[in-house]
């Protein structure tokens, strides 16, 4: 177990190094720069700006500085907004994104499991068809389309929730739903099929023979076993929620990290792009690692031996 974790952490560190290096050189090679917008730059100012951001050093010095700064979690200053460092942006945006992301994950897991159970209990009957249809719709419809439709119908036409912004719980519902529904669909599919499988097993027959009710069997017996695939899905779910936030935060005008990231892309604000990418990479890779470790703790049948699963 310990050996496995160390191995995985080494992989993550190498991957991080690759990401840092790749972003550095790609950004060096990128067309355009954030100063290109302001025309009529006197050469002195440009030289000053270059000196400020260390762009006048040869690339290997820049690369070395960048590596060292990254190790110290110092991602440099924004090239677009003066006096704002990437760390400020992360500190400001991440808590918002984290709150939204956690809510989305809760909704995804909750709705997914609920729909999965309903579909499995009423296998091939009306509730099953409804739950499965909703799950399939969730999987097939892109989240930004869903977000747009919800904004249009639920906020604008019905006025149930605010259209956009970030000002309390009411504002979180629609964006969290928009992120969550795709994943809820996947989870519902997983739960449904594994519940159906469990329903054929001997212990369920025994429980039925004892005269236990439908729901008692679900909560006391089948659900626990049927939830294993859901735990494997938690890794991809984290990644999906994070990347989903890029778009959804944009649509709902939420001041989270995803929105800052997308804005830095539009602005070609290279330091922020690099910093945020590395930050996201760290978060995601460790989230997946934690999920994998959790998986073995919950299901003792799985023994991790070195190499990567999945």
């Amino acid at each position: 177990m310990l050996k496995y974790i160390i191995k995985r952490i080494i992989h993550i560190l190498i991957a991080l190094f690759l990401i840092v290096t790749a972003t550095f050189f790609l950004m060096k090679a990128a067309p355009g720069n954030p100063f290109a917008n302001e025309r009529d730059f006197p050469p002195e100012i440009e030289a000053n700006l270059n000196a400020k951001y260390g762009l006048d050093n040869p690339w290997y010095i820049q690369y070395k500085d960048y590596l060292i700064n990254t190790l110290k979690f110092d991602f440099g200053e924004s090239m677009k907004y003066k006096e704002r460092s990437t760390n400020d942006i992360i500190a400001e945006g991440f808590p918002v994104s984290l709150a939204l992301g956690l809510e989305a994950m809760l909704i995804a897991v909750g709705l997914g499991i609920l729909f999965g159970i309903i579909a499995a209990l009423y296998h091939n009957r009306f509730p099953d068809y409804i739950a499965t249809t909703i799950a399939v719709l969730g999987i097939s419809v892109p989240s930004f389309v869903l977000a747009g439709l919800m904004q249009y119908f639920i906020s604008l036409k019905l006025g149930l929730f605010p259209v956009a912004g970030w000002n309390g719980f009411k504002y979180t519902v629609l964006p969290a739903l928009a992120i969550a529904l795709t994943h809820a669909g996947y989870i519902a599919k997983l739960v449904r099929s594994s519940m159906l499988e469990e329903n054929h097993s001997e212990y369920v027959k025994l429980a039925r023979a004892k005269g236990l009710g439908k729901w008692t069997i679900v909560f006391k017996h089948t659900l626990r076993n049927a939830l294993m695939p859901v735990i494997t899905y938690l890794g991809p779910l984290t990644a999906g929620v994070v990347t989903g936030s890029f778009i959804i935060e944009q649509i709902f005008a939420i001041p989270g990290l995803g929105r800052h990231f997308v804005q830095s892309i539009t602005n070609r604000d290279y330091t922020v792009i690099m910093g945020t990418t590395v930050f996201y990479a760290i978060i995601l890779m460790f989230a997946v690692l934690i999920v994998d470790i959790l998986y073995t703790i919950i299901d003792p049948r799985i023994k991790l031996k070195g190499g990567g699963r999945k």
Binding site: A22, A29, I139, F144, T243, I273, T277, Y280, A281, G307
Partner: protein
Amino acid sequence: MEKRHDTYGELTPEMFRVVGPRLAESDQMPKKTVSFWKEVWYRFRQNKLAVSGVFILAIIALLAIFVPEFSQYSYRDQLGVYNEAPSKEHWFGTDDLGRDVFVRVWYGARISLFIGITAAIIDLIIGVLWGSISGLFGGRVDDIMMRIVDILSAIPYLLVVIILLVVMEQGLLPMIIALSITGWVNMARIVRGEVLSIKNREFVLAARTLGASNWHLIVRHIIPNALGAILVTMTLTIPTAIFTEAFLSFLGLGVNQPIASWGTMASEGMGGLRVAPWRLFFPAFFISLTIFAFNAVGDGLRDALDPKLRK
């Protein structure tokens, strides 16, 4: 049943006859052998959802091929009627620049499907080669190649794609390159797994003793046997690529105007949702339909190939 009771114990010789050896019949095979793929096809056909997926995809492909060719408008014609609701003239309405949405949807279908399929084919080629070489050679080679895969797959997919697209000029080719740069990792893993299970079978050993080269083994034995898993992975890669393309278009990293993909159309349509909802609705509908169809076909194929996994 009753009759049998009546006759019980009254067996007379007249009730029997000598059949003798039926030489002509016993020389023949008892039944025509059903090949593996025929069986798969039979099981696949039973799955209504998967079959309708195939039909949906065929119709979408045909429309994508023929509508832009035979329509009186082109995808870039500005017709002077802006944001017009769907009518006889313009089935899906027009957009803010006065372009016919119907033609653009089917032109966009070409682009989206092209991106999805090309990305999947590139994944396929790299993944199959990587996986089969790694699995077949084993030992050191396998170790190194699989460590590379492990490390690459630790990197979040979408971040790499975004970074690459930020750097490259926007367009069709950069999009495909970005989508497939680490996308093949999954395919490589699956193929390697298949190879490892096929490698030690007798027929591979037989081929080896007959002096077959590694290349011959890969092409003639490994790939045909791993074809099922490869096919399933591929049908499930295409919708992911289409989805990702739509997502990236929304971030402003998609293909350039006036070229349309479903993703760019939908993200433009989002802006005009209040004035012209059809501009979002039609591309979004066909993205969803296509993704649904590919998923249905992929799931159907998986179930047909491996009935044990049937859910």
